[in-house]
């Protein structure tokens, strides 16, 4: 066969047709731009968030080797796999009047992590030099300036004099680190007995898998004689090494849904455009264009449109995402995503126009030149009734039913838009600032009274030392109960322990459960069993949050293993061995049940029968760690009740009060960031669905202008035609609204419930009435306006012109 290069000729045809069908091009490009910018915005935003995190992590250590001696330090420092390192010492915190001081030594070198931002002066070099917060000096009643003399009196009564070598500035706080020189770290009273820690970044760690990274840092540690339990990897960094597939899958699914909608819209736009151009294709076929060439021509038109739309869409998406997270721009990722989106969109457009292109190619020269332009393919051969009602309104119904395929496309496209709209607005409307702040203990009440963590920090036995004379006592509880408007006072107990398991010794919290709770807990067991009495007898415990242990340590607790616990029993530090009797399901599952949340959220890894806990402590030891107060009518009584609670607690520095209101105040910024992110995405989706609606309505009516002209010729008045157009628009609007209200509501409800079930607990389902009313109004008015405009446009052209187009 003779091979011809028809590229030039086809390109010419493509160009001229693109110039001619401006309306179609505009609609197609708008559709593409919307979908591409939506997908690009999501993808870029997610990548930008990840990139920002990665950049932040580059200024964090990868691992800390605890309790290292001189020999180990020099071995680590000369290790080839360690790129940066710093040795540090952290002394015992102690309380000074109403603030807390923590002594520190941090090696000064060019490592990018654990940096101290000195506002004025320099890091201490002499044994009697210190670097302090200006705020601390103010609290001490000393003028904050470099060169100032000051003294600190320590817990043992000794006082040491220092010179301020540098100043740090910070927002108001009551915990102040004080930095000392290396000399002081080696021989100063507060730090000389504290072992060094060495924090390090590992060469090339960013490119390792998480398993590989762990084996590298453990290998380095083992090589230097450091125990596994003294190797503390940076969990945030470790997490960044495993790719977050769920997010990628979510975006891919969403992108797929968006592209699916675009396919429908672009398909119908092109389908109509091709039908309108039957004659043109016929002529081209007559003068010798092959079917292949016709197909190629249509495909090229699509390619040009998708190119333009993709570029605009990617730019919009990128501007949106990177203006929200400017730190998150990375050229590599941007290029990769842009190419992927580009390709996905190109394929989408080509899929959308495959059928129309085939249709164009199948037009035979004879058919095209002899027949009129627009031939509806009607599968129906005969009607059931001889005559249906023929008023303008019923005519529009007949017409939508007659073009069943096209009507279905329109309805599907509109309905998808409506469903997406309802889902998005349900989600946004269901977001609840109060529930957001009630995520944790505020689920159970509006006030929590806790043992002050600052106070616990400076006690030799930590919070257990404070509990030995527990301020959260029965008197307080009785007082709280007596406050007018208080519904319930819940006291929660915990036992602070040091556990040893699998070579790890760490601090943790054990929480009790009662015999009644045991029944509920056994429904949430993943392994093992709960027999309350037997557990007391055999010193058995239950493990919660095991999946987090797996995440942090790489191993998890096993039923039947023993765990050694060490705790302060009110008189002495004691130690004992406990057997694991059962393991609870993952936290996300537990937290679907409010009672399980209360039991398990209170605990670290360990839960034990109340009866067992009682035997472990000196008699009458009060383990209360938190009191939750719930009220009848919070928003009307919060100020008064807060005052009354403060009257019991304000004078006691050992307890702190948090209120739902202050929590909401604290959460405000975070919540509004989350809210507006969702709102932004939802608005985008909503804009997409609404433009889609307009798009479909306009192209749908324009496609039938010939039919209207023909009706005009046989005597339908402009008013009658207008009624037909509006009637048809209203038919689609009605179907759309019905689907939006029914399926959309269901989907929105399901989405909210699903998200809530998966841990987005601040969602309280709200029927998005305002959004829906707005949507209804828009759909109805939009349809009316467009129909009116179209019929006006149609009636402006004379009948002859319109009829001529047919011939």
């Amino acid at each position: 066969m003779l091979k011809v290069n028809s590229k030039k000729a086809i390109n010419y045809l493509v160009k001229s047709s693109l110039k001619q069908y401006k309306m179609r091009n505009l609609f197609t490009i708008i559709t593409i731009v919307l979908s591409v910018s939506l997908i690009a915005g999501l993808a870029f935003l997610s990548s930008a968030i990840e990139e920002t995190e990665r950049k932040e992590l580059s200024t964090r250590q990868h691992v800390i080797y605890h309790n290292v001696n001189d020999k180990q330090i020099s071995a680590l420092k000369s290790h080839s796999q360690i790129s940066f390192e710093k040795d540090i010492k952290r002394g015992q915190s102690f309380e000074q009047e109403d603030y807390i001081i923590t002594p520190y030594y941090i090696e000064q070198n060019d490592s990018p992590f654990i940096t101290v931002d000195i506002a004025e002066g320099r890091y201490p070099e002499q044994i009697n030099e210190v670097l302090v917060y200006d705020q601390m000096l103010v609290q001490m009643g000393i003028k904050p300036r470099v060169g100032q003399s000051m003294s600190i009196t320590y817990l043992d009564g000794t006082t040491e004099d220092y010179t301020v070598s540098g100043l740090l500035t910070a927002e108001t706080t009551d915990v102040f680190p004080v930095y000392f020189s290396r000399e002081y770290a080696l021989s100063g009273s507060q730090l000389k007995d504290v072992p060094f820690d060495l924090s390090a970044q590992i060469e090339g760690a960013e490119k390792m898998g998480s398993e590989e990274f762990l084996s590298v840092i453990r290998g380095i540690g083992a090589g230097c004689g450091i125990d596994r339990k003294n190797i503390n990897e940076n969990n945030a960094f470790l997490r960044s090494l495993t790719y977050n597939y769920t997010e990628v899958i979510m975006i891919a699914l969403l992108a797929f849904a968006i592209l699916l909608v675009s396919v429908l819209v672009i398909y119908s736009i092109f389908y109509i455009s091709i039908s309108e151009r039957t004659r043109q294709f016929g002529q081209l076929r007559t003068i010798g264009m092959t079917k292949k060439q016709v197909k190629r021509m249509v495909r090229k038109e699509g390619a040009v449109l998708s190119l333009i739309g993709s570029v605009i869409g990617i730019i919009i998406g990128a501007v949106f995402a990177f203006s929200m997270k400017p730190q998150g721009f990375s050229l590599d990722v941007f290029a990769l995503y842009a190419i992927a989106i580009f390709a996905a969109n190109f394929i989408t457009v080509q899929v959308s126009i495959a059928k129309p292109a085939k249709l164009a190619a199948s037009i035979s020269p004879i058919e095209a030149t002899r027949m009129s332009g627009y031939e509806v393919k009607n599968k129906k051969k005969q009607t059931k009734n001889l005559q249906r009602k023929l008023s303008p309104l019923s005519l529009s119904m007949i017409s939508t039913k007659g073009n069943r395929k096209k009507s279905m496309m329109t309805i599907i496209s509109l309905s998808l838009a409506g469903i997406v709209f309802m889902s998005a607005s349900s989600y946004v409307d269901s977001m609840n600032a109060e529930e957001f702040s009630r995520e944790s203990w505020f689920k159970f009440g509006e006030y929590t009274i806790n043992i002050s963590s600052n106070a616990a920090k400076v006690n030799d036995y930590g919070d257990m030392g404070i509990k030995a004379n527990n301020p959260l006592n029965d008197t307080l509880i009785e007082n709280l109960q007596a406050v007018d408007g208080v519904k319930k006072v819940i006291a929660m107990q915990t036992l602070s322990v040091n556990y040893t398991y699998n070579d790890v010794t760490k601090k943790d919290v054990a929480a009790p459960f009662t015999k009644d709770d045991a029944g509920l807990m056994s429904q949430y067991l993943k392994a093992g069993s709960i027999d309350y009495e037997k557990m007391i007898e055999n010193k058995e415990i239950i493990i919660a949050h095991n999946e987090i242990a797996k995440e942090i340590f790489g191993w998890d607790f096993k039923v039947g293993d023993t765990v050694s616990l060490k705790w302060y029993n009110g008189e002495n530090e004691v130690e004992d061995v406990f057997t694991i009797a059962g393991i609870l399901q993952p936290s996300t599952t537990l937290y679907r049940n409010q009672e399980m949340f209360r039991l398990a959220h209170n605990a670290g890894w360990f839960m034990m029968p109340q009866g067992l806990l009682d035997t472990m402590m000196t008699p009458k030891f009060n383990l209360n760690t938190r009191i939750i107060v719930s009220t009848e009518d919070y928003w009307n009584t919060e100020e008064r009740i807060e005052k009354e609670i403060l009257s019991f607690t304000a004078n006691n520095p050992l307890v702190t009060l948090s209120t739902l209101k202050s929590e909401m105040e604290n959460d405000k910024q975070l919540y509004s960031v989350i809210y507006f992110t969702f709102m932004g995405a939802a608005l985008f989706v909503i804009a997409f669905s609404i433009i889609n609606l307009l798009n479909t309505l306009i192209s749908n009516t324009m496609a039938r202008k010939r039919e209207f002209a023909c009706l005009g010729a046989i005597g339908a008045s402009n008013r009658q035609i207008k009624i037909m157009i509006i009637g048809e628009g209203m038919y689609f609007a009605a179907v759309n609204l019905i689907v939006t209200v029914t399926i959309g509501t269901l989907m929105g409800y399901a989405l909210v419930k699903f998200a809530k079930w998966n841990g987005v607990s601040f969602l309280v389902y709200q029927f998005p009435l305002t959004y829906l009313l707005g949507y209804c109004l828009f759909v109805l008015l939009g349809t009316l306006a467009i129909s009116a405009v179209i019929s006006k446009v149609l009636s402006k052209k004379s009948l002859i012109e319109r009829l001529r187009k047919i011939e």
Binding site: V376, N378, T383, Q387, S399, A713, G715, E807
Partner: protein
């Protein structure tokens, strides 16, 4: 009785050098029940004349009188209604509504006028045009000749004063053309229907009672075949 009359009908397109006199003072009279064909070459002004006769387009000057009524004194909307009641069209490409069946297409103009069809009369037309067995069919399941017969039936159904046929056989082969034309002729006689048909085909025009020739927007001669 004269049912249709034009008086110095003129239609001028464009202005200045590019002025085109599509119709240049046409005077035409058509008797009630007459079957007139207007013959002309492409660009002779025959289509423009037909559009004027049907009230689809307004002339630059001159009058068209249908049944004693000067139709261009009517407003657009009134003209539409007048057209619906008094004029039936038969187009070269049939212009049937694709979503309506044959019967519905036939009675559509009557429905648009808010009337119910005269059942006997419509049955008679359907019988005459041989469409009895096709009434429930959709237009795209019909041959070209059948579609044109539906279009003729539609034009007849509202008992118009005149039927205007614009190249009614333009899309049909010669055998089918003959069939359609003889049907036109038969209906014209049977229903005493005035028909004005335009065509470029001399042979076809000979079927009419009278042939009017048009050239450069002017009538150049009329031959009566009757």
């Amino acid at each position: 009785m004269i049912i249709l009359e034009t008086r110095s009908l003129k239609k001028i397109y464009g202005s200045g050098d590019s002025t085109v006199h599509a119709l240049d003072g046409v005077n035409l009279k058509v008797e009630n029940g007459e079957f007139v064909s207007i013959v002309g070459t492409s660009g002779s002004g025959k289509s423009t004349l037909l559009h004027m006769l049907g009230g689809l387009d307004r002339p630059t000057s001159g009058d068209v009188i249908v049944g004693g009524k000067e139709i261009f004194t009517l407003k657009d909307e009134e003209l539409t209604i007048f057209r619906r009641r008094k004029i039936g069209f038969v187009f070269q490409n049939y212009n049937l509504v694709p979503t309506l069946n044959v019967y519905e297409n036939i009675v559509l103009p009557i429905g648009l006028d808010g009337n119910t069809p005269d059942k006997d009369y419509v049955d008679n037309i359907i019988h005459t045009l041989g469409l009895k067995s096709k009434l429930r069919n959709m237009p795209n399941n019909l041959s070209g000749g059948q579609q044109q017969r539906v279009a003729i039936a539609r034009a007849l159904a509202s008992k118009p004063a005149i039927i205007l046929a614009d190249e009614p056989t333009g899309n049909l082969d010669s055998k089918t053309s003959q069939d359609v034309l003889s049907l036109l002729k038969v209906t014209s006689e049977k229903f005493k229907q005035t028909i004005v048909m335009i065509t470029h085909n001399e042979e076809i025009s000979q079927l009419a009672d009278r042939v009017v020739r048009i050239e450069d927007g002017q009538i150049v001669g009329g031959v009566s075949n009757a």
